[in-house]
Symmetry: D2
Subunit: 459 residues, 4 copies
């Protein structure tokens, strides 16, 4: 999971890109980066850490230019290192003059990299973005292709998810994989700025309130002549028909105020909650409590449909972060209590519907269920806003291997027993389909194992 931003034609492009990255920080907090063109070369800055720490005003002051690409990263491929941060910039005799940032994971990274290395191309990271950049530069420099043609070639050869922005010293290109797996939108400000982002909340913050989807297999670019759109039929690159948007963008990743794949994220979540409520006909709970913050809207949807109170019974500590102190270090056995604390005297004797967005390994939600029971909740009915996650994702979500997925080797009853909940229900795949307008345009591979792009199983 990552976020991208691209700004074209604003004299303070780096500042706008920083605003966009603020808005997308939820998509990746490990590292961030920015490349800014002053019309001649790109200046690059990338570091581990949050946008607000990496791009302080004094640093931005050194990044003058009217084109800026930015990226926030949550690590999937490659270790936690600034080398694996994006954007990537290609140095040539003309200076560092091409930059690229991308969101999504590639499936045939190893093969393509090996082919490029045979041609003498050097890689300084294990990052997908570098592969995309080197592929294009190689086509352009060594084979004399125009950039749009190089991108088309890329779509034939490189498989996986990519929502990508690329800039030369005076142009900005945007392109997206044929299944449109990850979100990607763009828009124009009335002052002439063009911006592209993973989520439209990053455009909102720039005052761009109308946005368009970059189409599947879309190749767009903007230069001083304006916007250009290369017609490109996605069908030619597809093994299976249609888009395959990641449904987890709605369930978990995207911000609730974003408009993803043509839908309001919060509305989809509320609909999921309502579906869960509809199937709980016989249940008469006292309260609905979300595991904050990602499940808030699912729980709100449940509460409204059911007509019972929504309560924020669990308080989340936003400040714990990664330095999480392990229980063995402190002889306290509940590391989850560092992150979640129940309201005092709240749960006692109550029939609680506890709502979470998904279950991966089940370790955290199990501790939360225990916490509620220890607080003397009478019943804890666990409701999950996604079907059981039984398969790994290869397109940009950091899921563990199958055997670590609790739903891949256990029945729902076994899971319920392990978690200690009074009852457990997942939203069904059919119910989930009912929550989005175009259910056939989504990828459900992590529930079904039907991958639109066949992954190579690796350790």
């Amino acid at each position: 999971m990552c976020g991208i931003i691209g700004i074209y034609n604003h004299k303070r492009a780096a500042e706008l890109a920083t605003l966009g990255l603020f808005a997308e920080q939820h998509r990746g907090q490990e590292s961030c980066g920015m490349a800014v063109s002053d019309g001649r070369v790109f200046r690059l800055r990338k570091k581990m850490g949050l946008v607000k720490n990496v791009f302080r005003p004094d640093k931005l002051a050194h990044m003058q230019g009217s084109i800026a690409l930015g990226h926030v990263r949550y690590p999937t491929r490659g270790s936690s290192s600034p080398f694996n941060a994006q954007p990537h910039v290609q140095e040539t005799l003309a200076g560092p003059s091409v930059a690229l940032a991308s969101n999504g994971d590639l499936v045939n990274y190893d093969e393509v990299r090996a082919r490029l290395e045979c041609k003498g191309i050097y890689f300084s990271s294990q990052n997908d973005g570098e592969l995309l950049l080197k592929y294009i530069v190689c086509k352009v420099e060594l084979e004399g292709m125009a950039i749009p043609d190089a991108i088309r070639s890329l779509m034939h050869e490189i498989k996986g998810a990519y929502s990508t922005v690329l800039a030369t010293r005076d142009r900005m290109y945007m392109f997206r994989d044929p299944y449109a797996i990850r979100p990607m939108v763009y828009g124009h400000h009335e002052d002439g700025t063009v911006a592209v982002a993973s989520e439209n909340c990053a455009l909102d913050i720039l005052g761009i309130h109308r946005h368009l989807e970059v189409p599947p297999a879309g190749i767009l670019w903007v230069d001083d002549q304006g916007m250009h759109n290369q017609p490109n039929d996605p069908a030619q690159y597809r093994a299976v028909p249609g888009c395959h948007h990641c449904v987890f963008e709605h369930i978990y990743f995207s911000r609730p105020d974003s408009f993803i794949f043509g839908e309001n994220v919060y509305s989809v979540r509320e609909r999921i909650g309502a579906k869960l409520a509809d199937s709980d006909k016989g249940l008469h709970p006292d309260v609905v409590v979300p595991v904050p913050d990602s499940s808030n809207f699912i729980a709100l949807g449940y509460a409204k449909r059911k007509g019972i109170p929504f309560e924020m019974g669990l308080i989340r500590n936003h400040y714990v972060g990664r330095t999480f102190i392990k229980p063995q270090q402190t002889v306290r056995d509940e590391s989850v209590s560092q992150k979640f604390n129940p309201l005092p005297n709240f749960f006692k004797g109550k029939k609680v519907v506890l709502v979470d967005d998904s279950i991966v390994r089940g370790t955290t939600i199990r501790k939360i269920v225990q916490l509620l029971l220890r607080e003397s909740a009478a019943e804890v009915h666990l409701r999950i806003g996604s079907p059981p996650v039984m398969f790994s994702c290869y397109y940009g979500i950091d899921t563990p291997t199958r055997k670590e997925l609790i739903a891949s080797g256990n029945t729902i009853e076994e899971i319920r027993e392990y978690l200690g909940a009074t009852s457990l229900r997942y939203v069904s795949a059919d119910e989930l389909c009912g929550c989005v307008g175009e259910p056939n345009e989504y990828c459900y591979a992590c529930f079904t194992g039907h991958y639109p792009i066949e992954p190579k199983e690796t350790s």
Copy 2:
């Protein structure tokens, strides 16, 4: 606003103190610090930044010892500098062997400091905590007093709010001002650890689920003989009778899962919301929306009493922080949009009750009201969970001078007009009194100007 933590008798005291500071980080994000005694001397670390960044595991590894004092700081007196961070440690011939951390502001800091300086005492900061520490060490070292007597003397001489923990190499003392203005609780873990904190959520995280208030003018200490309690009548130090707990701890500062001054914070907030609803008899709104996160429970209380939907219509970006880019830098005019974004298509045509906890200058809430109107909300009824703030606080809250307080020079109607809201109502002082069990034990000076301790007006 600050938070303190003290740990006694745990071999990994620094780790427990770090956990406690995680839980209290909402009380101050500017700087943090810790002093740990290895039984001989204190090792001190304090820096600008969040607890999770300052006290990473590798740093904690160098802070061995069984007594630890910690502090998180939100700046009130003194500039933003690590010198003004707490705890303070006194270096003597015996090494750095006394440490102190305190929450609250002192009213006669300048006078007391001048008196101590006349005796040759040196101050390295402008921080209240250093004054308290130097005062006590001076009494002990130069006048031969026992520490409890020095604290009693302090209570006679130093005026203001202080919830304070002090440690020598083998003892931990806790004391609190006679009006008990700021919160302060302590508790015992079954493994023998004693902990003291600003809020009990910091004890919860340590597995200490029962806690006691440090009484007003209380002087407690723990040594290898156990807990000691110095009887001390607060009346002797009081100009006016009774406790004067800060009511804003309930309205805004404390975490909703804390139990402050004998009350559940979230319950107080929900009651405030209900009071606001009770007075809106004739109003029939479509939704209630909080300004997240501090107003969530007030809005929930309003929604429940009124029987209308609670909706999280504003999304708050937690990642913006202090590097906030000014509008003039980016030609975008709405800096508030960096922090709050409305759900798309949500407000259109709705009668909205917008709930906030308080209004200080009014600049932010004005922009939020405008935002909702621009989203085509039909009506925006603003409801405030505190009475109009008309006077500055001198006991630990960073309020601006009177003339910057919008309520000090304007009628409510004038404020409403400035904000652009359809209607505006504050909870009244009487209603607020009805929300806590012992209303006479609270300080309402910021609403009434009746200060329990008379401040010296300074610029």
Copy 3:
């Protein structure tokens, strides 16, 4: 003034290069750098500071490879910044795979840079080495030239002094300007290592005790087939016939234990001293004292020829460096006394011959003369090991503009009077010619203004 080193075919090339740089540190103390090829790409490290601080063992451990280029820099063109340090490395699609280090200044830098920029070449520094590298890479990459041909083309186009080493991932090239202005030698170790350096003292330290000159306009390279020598007639590039070695390498720059342009440096210096003595027939001094350390051998030569005692009457403080505290800062008027201190009770009543290598502005030597007089020296006869410096150097020596050169606007008697010396004599140009074996092969432009390569006068 700079120093270069190149190491080929040693598995610890970076360590050998560091040793070489230690030996050449006298040629430049501002910054240093190294590029090491692991057979694939170059790893680069360059920083302000001394070799011993920049290339500590822990840093060397990260610079594995069998080819290493190193550089020490004394600033001439370009500001004091690590960007202007050498070596330079060219990044391409194949990674950072060409590196270059050079000693000497270019005369037509601006013209050549402008021509390259017109072709789209980007410069990240104002450094001569970058120009040489970009020129060659441009010829190779854009025009398909072989490297030796590119170097030949360079010799036609680029004017000035350059003793240059260039490496690709598996070859090391050495080349030198047609006048062989700066020194450059190479040699083989019996273990197969090939090394090139500015001075042979840097080869000595590696155990390479036999060395050869890189010929004027010489183009040599070494690969896994061994050493290659491209025949190249220097006459084709010369405006005036013959070599034009910098005579100041003997007088001042090179280490006395080096063998430069076919001569022992210390022998040349002793001969200069003897010439000065020969002309002092009527003078009967008590002692000869050098301005340490550069004039030691000239003074020794004088003393031996004259048969009077050589005495180290001035002690030089090696530790003062650049943080020299200005007199106005301390109300002490003799900043020279920070660097030189006289032996106590030494000069009193003595007729002293004071020897220095050259006079540029005259400010320091004036203070030294005053110092000796204040110590009650009876007479101070100043003898200078070079003719009057009347013209600026454009080939690598950091001389000031003409009007700052004391000898360019004053007679010798005027200079003597300004300095306060009893008598003043410079070695004459004729005498100097008599001190080297091939006097026609040297450049005397700073004494005569006859430049082998016509400079563009710039401000």
Copy 4:
């Protein structure tokens, strides 16, 4: 070996102290430090590294005040750490208000520290200076002594070498051990500044050209009334009569331009050289060559007496420093060649007298002798400016344990054979006595084992 400086009554005391430390840098290059009083408290800065790097002008700008103490350190007791650097400053209720810097080693450090620790005194380092400071502060603070009385008490209790400067906020004290083992001088500038230093070259640089010795057991101080001298008979503290100045200050440590223990250092060294020459009646060498730089004056003295040429046949590289690369790392077997290089073609066929100041382990001089023989020197007659070093020093010189001293287990002939020299002669103890004016006032313990203060043998 360390150096101290103290400045009193100059508004730019820190700058003057920096100049003094520049002049004394030869006495210690590991770390340096300074404490400056602004009349109220001391500001302290100490770091590993050279004075010119630690006290850059920007750092000095933060050290305002009219009293400054400085120190350069060569490590003897305590590890290489900034904690062990000097000066030490005592923090009290009145702030950091006493500072101390000392040169010399203490013999009964462990005992005195243990006694002070029993009284509750805390030590933060293993440094002698901290012991002296804590001892005095303890006497003053806990026992109410005046500082001069505390120093007298110190002289009774603490054994060893100490040339010490101590400052309070408005006074500067100087005192010295009863045997006056290490040098210590002071002087007045006509502008009212008082300065104290290890060597007078540090006073010279300040424009103070007349200096006085701090007498053995002397206790002096300066305040706004002027200079004070506490009469104090050293005999009362002495186990054996007389001063015991370290004779190695003349042979090796001090700068040749200093005036130590009433003698010109360079004169003593030249006399040693002359004594060595006098005993070489039958020897007719071609040249005398010093091991630079410490033996230059001994070799000059030898050459003048003998009437044969003094030649600087070995060039020393000043830039190698501590990062010395070990031979095993580079497969080069002569690490000495990193530091010393012979003049080329110089030694061939010559009868050389090679002069060194002393032999400790013999490893370096052995390699130098080999170097000369490899250069085809006909004969290498090694002459040493001190008697054989057979015993360790406990008063401030970092000598190894006895068994590592080559002269402690071998005859001179055995040493000669090990070194490979044609002949070997040390100056005899009698001859050495003939080189100083007051031979009975010196310590020769490292030659004879007769220690004025009995050391505790430790591992």
